[in-house]
Symmetry: C2
Subunit: 389 residues, 2 copies
């Protein structure tokens, strides 16, 4: 187990009756709010109206930034920073899913940087401070409500890049599973897959002695395997939505990587797919992950993959690690299929035309080969893309 | 799943090379330190000398409070508060195990209360603020380094009571598994049992829909079952000590009870044993827990206990919940026995003489019957004590 620092001070207010605490939580940190949201979904479920009412009843000044996209774009953050500057905003409230929160994070940090906020995403500008952020989560997928990460898309440069800073960890997050009842099957499934992928990126590593957190990872994966199908079958099953929502936060807030040497593998490969084709992130992950596992299956990795099959899918081990690992990977593919998502790139309109370019860019944006569960250079990424066609 | 709030902002610095960060972490919160510790163990392992050197090299003023007991006593906290007041102390550094940290918590909160700090423990005085606390952990058992709880013994009133406040959550904790290499077999075993008991107090509940955190609990229990014996066999096994130490924090920092209706059952029963007989807490828990489970085994609880056997001890289920639950309980007893700890009250010198009084006091100190996995009144506690003779 490697040395690590763990510090996650986001206050989580979880459940059906927590929204009432919004004004008092905001007032701990600020008084002039930028309310960030996406399309109309928060209006459809009545949340927008409830939030506005609470802000107005409590005389909290606010301005709005709406229309933040899935795969949030640099331009939205630039717009947000402008509103913040023009209105002396001192608190960012993100209401929505990970995209809205990720955009809010770049606004919060970008406010303190004079030049282009894209420099924060690329790492050229260092984040020294950020405006405080609060979130009201309406989609379980990215875990952005309890972590320091953000992913921003720059359509001009065709880049979708992740960045992070402890300064943009939300001060509080209100998580009501009921807000996710109206999330459609497509986004419910891709959210569950995203959560599982975050977990697997941490979980699949070699002999690091991190037994405890690997058992936590398996528990989290089992939760997704149990409740993903239930949430699709009955979108208003509270326990399903609640377990998925809470799993979502713990998949990526840092606990599951404590003590581990992890280097995320599938996420960087997928980011190129969504940057080029604007596909839903979780769908890209579902297509790539089993092919990545097949590709990296070798004498070093077979045992861990077979344990994954035993501890997550309750497969009986035969003692033949390769056979067991292959069955585990097949089970993962079957599970993704059961969620009704595509399993090939062709199904989402991706052909061979950009595979090589995307493979090169995966490594270029990483700045070096992927050093995770198995080492991957551009040629390996290309092979995984090809397996996924 | 019930509504809940989760907020644990302790910064964890985990690993072999973290002590160097002590001065900078202290300086974030204070400049005049009360250094709290117990007997000579921190001197034996050289930690005392290292800490003093760091404080002096960094010109950090300090006074010492030494001799804090296992089952820390009110008097030590009173002494500590006196030193704090006389020296304008603004930061409490606890170096040791849970007893030292628990005492530090009462000093930190008691400083702001004019009257007897015992009023904080009994709940008569409300904790409005507390001095900041940092810890350097040398024993994995109570989880006090990352939670808001403290247990204090008042020998005059024969009371050992728990209290808690978010104000006394440590600001940081330095956790080096190497510091626990010299913990002897008795305290290693009782620490592991304490960790398991914290987990089980949260885990054993009925149909609450908290699937995710129950899987986390099982992962934590499996970690204790795997590494407890390894740590006894080879006290310098880094991964064993590290996994136990990290499990220790997560057993009781609040995560495993999120969304659950829990009412701790075995801890209040055990606190009477240690208050009357000053036995090691973990040993008392080991004696009581399997008997508690046998006593509460009924048609409602059988399924959960049998799942515990399957998911923690990998027992195959027969389909007969009662039989499976009994096997699970036997397995737990066998595991405790394998750690070399006593399994009856008689072995630790406890006879029938105070059982009735302790049973009455268990409920009296709780203020009502125990409403956990199964309802327990004083007569039930007495039966469990008798089963444990």
């Amino acid at each position: 187990m490697k040395d690590f620092i763990f510090e996650v001070d986001t206050k989580i207010l979880f459940g059906e009756d927590q929204l009432k605490n919004l004004p008092s939580e905001i007032k701990k940190h600020g008084s002039r709010v930028l309310l960030c949201y996406g399309g109309g979904s928060i209006k459809k479920i009545g949340l927008y109206e409830d939030v506005i009412k609470l802000l107005e009843q409590n005389n909290i000044f606010y301005k709005e930034l709406s229309g933040i996209e899935p795969n949030p774009r640099l331009e939205s953050a630039v717009d947000g920073i402008k509103i913040v500057r023009e209105n002396n905003i001192d608190f960012i409230l993100a209401v929505g899913g990970g995209s809205v929160i990720d955009c809010a994070k770049l606004i919060a940090a970008g406010f303190y940087v004079d030049e282009d906020p894209w420099n924060i995403v690329t790492g050229k500008s260092r984040v020294e401070k950020a405006l405080p952020i609060g979130t009201i989560l309406t989609l379980a997928a990215t875990g952005s409500e309890m972590d320091e990460n953000s992913v921003i898309t720059n359509l001009k440069t065709k880049q979708k890049l992740g960045w992070g800073s402890s300064k943009v960890l939300p001060k509080f997050s209100i998580m009501n599973p009921v807000y996710t009842y109206t999330v459609n099957a497509h986004h419910t499934a891709s959210g569950v897959i995203d959560i599982m992928s975050h977990t697997m990126e941490n979980y699949f590593s070699l002999n690091d002695g991190c037994y405890l957190v690997d058992r936590f990872s398996e528990g989290l994966l089992k939760t997704c395997v149990k409740y993903g199908p239930i949430a699709l079958e009955n979108p208003k099953d509270y326990d399903a939505r609640a377990n998925i929502m809470w799993a979502n936060s713990w998949a990526i807030n840092g606990l599951l990587s404590t003590g581990k040497s992890t280097d995320w593998s599938v996420h960087p490969m997928e980011h190129e797919l969504s940057a080029f084709y604007d596909i839903t992130h979780g769908i890209g992950l579902a297509i790539l992950t089993p092919n990545w596992l097949k590709y990296v299956l070798n004498e070093h990795t077979a045992r861990k993959i077979s344990l994954f099959g035993k501890n997550v899918f309750e497969l009986e081990l035969s003692g033949d690690n390769f056979a067991d690992a292959n069955r585990a990977i097949d089970e993962l593919r079957n599970f993704f299929n059961s969620l009704g998502v595509p399993s090939t790139l062709k199904e989402v309109g991706i052909g061979e035309e950009h595979l090589e370019e995307m493979a090169e860019l995966t490594i270029k944006h990483k700045g070096r080969p992927i050093q995770g569960f198995a080492k991957l250079e551009a040629k390996d990424v290309l092979e995984i893309y090809k397996l996924s066609l």
